[in-house]
């Protein structure tokens, strides 16, 4: 198929940036979106133009590195997938496709479609862990039975890949879904309960300091999340936060 790509080009963090048009031919439905981008880049390189910079790595939807805003949706029109798993069969011959970076104050653009998501890491550094040393001298893994239901819920929250689609989709650029997924995982498990209060207060504080917006319950994040992380997690985090703030 033939496509008309409109891609955000920005040479550096200080550059103003603009949308540029690139026609492309010979795209087939079995190609992934990023393979289509590879094809474009190889053509650009061989014709002496500068290729489009974009983040990607595992290309199987789990590393969370790819991050394109396609036709106004994080990771494009398909549901439950990242951009690397989006296939061109979701588009039609002759389509115009708009490709932009994540846009959020806390995710500054580095170049073209590449943004800086280190704010997510800094939130994790402030409390996204259980304070246990890796000595191996812990109790036997089966000494604390955990109800299957709790373990399953914790697992579902823990499947967050930290891609930032929730922030990109939110009109307030809020990171509540991301932060609440980690808070939920650890507060559902006995191992994480010991420091639950401190964790939620510290992580929320860092989230605010990094310049993420507030949550106004529009639910866009849940719809666009490639891993189906549920809004319930935000509700759980709000309860944990309230508990922590009142009893501190």
């Amino acid at each position: 198929m033939k496509l008309n790509l409109k891609i955000w080009r920005q040479n550096g963090p200080q550059d103003k940036g603009e949308m540029k048009t690139y026609p492309i031919d010979g795209v087939d439905g079995d190609m992934s979106f990023l393979e289509m981008m590879d094809m474009l880049n190889n053509q650009l390189v061989e014709s002496g133009e500068s290729p489009v910079a974009f983040d990607h790595d595992c290309r199987e939807g789990i590393c969370g590195m790819c991050s394109l805003y396609i036709n106004g949706e994080a990771h494009g029109p398909d549901r439950g997938v990242t951009t690397c798993q989006l296939h061109m069969r979701k588009f039609n011959d002759g389509d115009t496709i708009y490709i932009e970076p994540w846009r959020a104050k806390a995710f500054p653009v580095i170049k073209d479609l590449v943004v800086d998501r280190s704010s997510f890491d800094r939130i994790m550094n402030s409390g996204g862990f259980v304070s246990v040393n890796t000595s191996g001298n812990t109790v036997d893994a089966n000494s604390i039975p955990i109800p299957k239901d709790d373990a399953d819920k914790a697992f579902e929250a823990a499947t967050c890949i930290g891609c930032g689609a929730c922030v990109a989709s939110c009109k307030n650029a809020s990171a509540m879904l991301f932060v609440s997924a980690k808070v939920s995982q650890l507060s559902l498990l006995p191992q994480g309960k010991v420091e639950a209060k401190e964790r939620v207060l510290n992580m929320v504080q860092t989230m605010d300091d990094e310049g993420f917006g507030n949550c106004t319950n529009t639910g866009a994040c849940e719809v666009e999340c490639p891993k189906g992380i549920s809004l319930e997690n935000i509700a759980r985090m709000n309860r944990e936060y309230l508990k922590g703030a009142l009893t501190k």
Partner: protein, 667 residues
């Protein structure tokens, strides 16, 4: 020929590690604060090593090329992690895990290392649970297990099809805690370009900051390389796009020997190649072979009918199907080790029974499992005289619970619904058992330069068993390296910080700069991918699942040609001092173009079949891998001579005191 000293401790196998640990030198906590350690790579091995070293008190600098340490490719591991917990009471033990791993590796690994791995395996599970890793549990709240290829017990712990993700996020959280405390300084979007050796010891690295292209000098008292495997030398593999051999290759060129480079694991269950523009292959976890049955049609007419679309696989009756693994290997059936399953698929497809347009696919079928689970559930839920539809629905629910994310992934990629029609799968490059040679302490032949995880060669021999990569990565990082490195660093308590304004750092930085300039100055006509794809084709056709003398010799010449062309006709746009993904790729491909040749040379020199290395000249009458223990019972360790085409071979003889070598059989 110099003798490789593996430094295996004396004593009986089950006492070696504990006795050695009791005697190893320790560094006191106050002195640890004056010692710096660099860790390159933040996957399971690197991430767990960085966290543990920081907890012990060392100053750690960790590097990864991704934008966050959480993205390392360990995250994509699906099926599970082995541990000798014997929670199922099915006869498992440390010895049995040790035995299975040595046998699975076709007797080309070091007994002492593998036994240590089996010993620490149980602690890994305890550790991860304490960190909040949400492993699968049964209704009693205890941990669940499943079975993997090449073993007869259930010792694999898992978190749906995302075990690697959960374990890596555990290691990442341990790292995050230390980053928050300032004990780890994390350098993301940084790629190691060179090792700096001072007075014969590894004392630092040159790294390129990919955001602004600056070359940075980082010094330390020891350097740990945990940069993963080199499967991307085949261009198409299940590795992440950025996975590369460069850190390993740079230390190889500085004196670290590279062991068994030709030992490559071709995983039997991957989604088949669909077209020329494909950039990577996707694995379907080995855990699927617990419930999926592998088959091709018995009659060649049915193959043709399926290819032409006049028949569907579901139209074929049971006796029109050839469940070839169950037929050839009745005792292990669909759960034979990966090398055996891959070769069996190739054998059927080479004979013309492949079921897709390219003739390179076999079926992985869940219909029988859905029916079996459906009947079980109907019984449990007291559904009286269930219809076929009831059974399908109930069974589908169970299969979805176990493998839901894998089925969804398959559906998204192929547009076929695997609940209704069998999956199509074919072998693909997945893991590399070879790697930098290390001694028992995980130290390479460069003093102070350690190598952990997939990047080293030590534990899996010629074939890795499923769910053992995660085990080895975390064992190395959490429980082995943090101890053994102390023995070396005990000599450095008075050294003080290593300065970076020295000739050694000047020279290393200049070498990196001139290499990058050389690449960018070619200004030819072809993209980096063009050369990478050509290299990949040569590797897959000549150094892939089956190898012979003639093809290997021609591969060596072809790789040399591609390398020469690369340096005269590659086109890299942009500059060195800016974000330049094409330049990053070019640096990695330049190293693959040298490694590929070494792999072919190694495969040529090993004229036996073992594990994943199958020389057509050396097979049993049934077509199984034929080892030659008398001639090749060694580790082939290669020294860089200054010319990639003339590596120098060293041998470490493998001594088996606890396991009797036999022809591996899974019949």
């Amino acid at each position: 020929m110099s003798v490789l000293d593996s430094k295996i401790p004396e004593g009986p196998i089950d006492r070696k590690w504990s006795d050695y640990k009791n005697k190893i030198r320790l560094v006191n906590p106050a002195n640890k604060r004056n010692i710096d350690v660099i860790v390159v790579g933040t996957g399971l091995a690197g991430g767990s090593a960085a966290a543990s070293l920081a907890e012990l008190g060392y100053n750690v600098k960790a590097f990864c090329f991704q934008d966050s340490p959480r993205r390392a490719h360990s995250i994509a591991a699906q099926g599970g992690i082995n541990a000798a917990k014997n929670y199922q009471g099915d006869g498992d033990s440390v010895f049995r895990l040790f035995y299975d791993t040595v046998k699975g590796g076709d007797y080309r690994s070091r007994e002492a290392n593998v036994h240590r791995l089996a010993e620490v395996s149980a602690s890994i599970i305890d550790q991860c649970v304490a960190q909040g890793v949400p492993f699968a549990r049964d209704y009693g709240g205890l941990l669940d297990n499943r079975s993997f290829g090449g073993v007869l017990v259930s010792r694999t712990f898992y978190a749906k099809g995302q075990t690697g993700q959960q374990l890596l996020l555990g290691a990442y959280s341990a790292m995050s805690r230390q980053i928050g405390k300032g004990k780890i300084r994390m350098y993301t979007r940084h790629e190691m370009q060179e090792l700096v050796v001072v007075d014969g010891k590894a004392r630092g690295i040159i790294a390129r900051n990919s955001v602004n292209g600056e070359l940075e000098r980082h010094s330390a008292h020891a350097v740990v390389i945990a940069s993963g495997g080199y499967g991307n030398v085949f261009f198409l593999s299940t590795n992440a796009m950025g996975s590369n051999v460069s850190a390993n290759w740079k230390i190889h060129k500085k004196g670290a020997q590279f062991a068994n480079p030709c030992f490559t694991q071709i995983h039997p269950t991957c989604i088949p190649v669909s077209g020329e523009n494909q950039s990577k292959l996707t694995l379907m976890s080995e855990s699927l072979r617990n419930d999926g049955r592998i088959w091709v049609p018995k009659n060649i007419e049915d193959v043709e009918a399926i290819k032409q679309g006049t028949k569907k696989p579901t139209d074929l009756t049971e006796d029109e199907r050839d469940y070839y693994l169950e037929r050839r290997y009745p005792s292990f059936g669909n759960l034979v080790p990966r090398d055996v399953a891959s070769r069996a698929a190739k054998e059927r497809c080479d004979a013309g029974y492949g079921v897709n347009a390219t003739g390179e696919a076999v079926y992985l079928d869940f219909a029988a499992a859905i029916e079996r689970y459906g009947k079980e559930q109907a019984h449990v839920q007291h559904v009286e005289s269930p219809t076929a539809e009831d059974i399908y629905k109930l069974g589908k629910g169970v299969v979805e619970g176990k493998y839901g994310n894998l089925f969804q992934m398959y559906y998204k990629i192929t547009d076929d619904n695997p609940y209704e029609t069998p999956m199509k799968i074919y072998p693909a490059v997945h893991y590399t058992m070879g790697g930098v040679w290390v001694d028992y302490n995980l130290m390479s032949t460069i003093p102070g330069c350690y190598v952990a995880g997939e990047a080293n060669f030590s534990d899996h021999g010629a074939n890795r068993l499923g769910a053992s990569a995660l085990m080895q990565g975390l064992a190395d990082g959490y429980f082995v390296l943090p101890y053994t490195i102390g023995d070396y660093l005990a000599d450095d308590i008075r050294t003080g910080a290593i300065p970076t304004d020295t000739t050694e750092f000047d020279e290393a930085e200049n070498a990196v700069r001139s290499h990058l300039e050389r690449l960018i100055d070619v200004q030819g006509t072809k993209s980096v991918d063009y050369f990478h794809k050509r290299l990949g084709k040569v590797m897959w056709n000549n150094v892939g699942m089956a190898r012979n003398e003639k093809d290997l010799n021609s591969a060596i010449l072809e790789i040399q040609n591609i390398r020469n062309e690369f340096y005269s006709n590659v086109r890299i746009p942009g500059k060195i001092d800016e974000l330049n993904p094409e330049l990053e790729k070019a640096g990695r491909v330049a190293d693959f173009l040298e490694l590929g040749e070494l792999m072919a040379i190694d495969a040529l020199s090993r004229n036996e079949s073992c594990g994943g290395h199958f020389r057509e000249e050396s097979q049993t009458p049934e077509g199984e891998a034929q080892r030659k223990d008398d001639e090749y019972g060694y580790v082939a360790s290669w020294e860089y001579s200054g010319n990639p085409s003339e590596p120098k071979l060293h041998k470490e003889d493998l001594v088996f005191e606890n396991i009797k070598l036999v022809q591996r059989s899974y019949k």
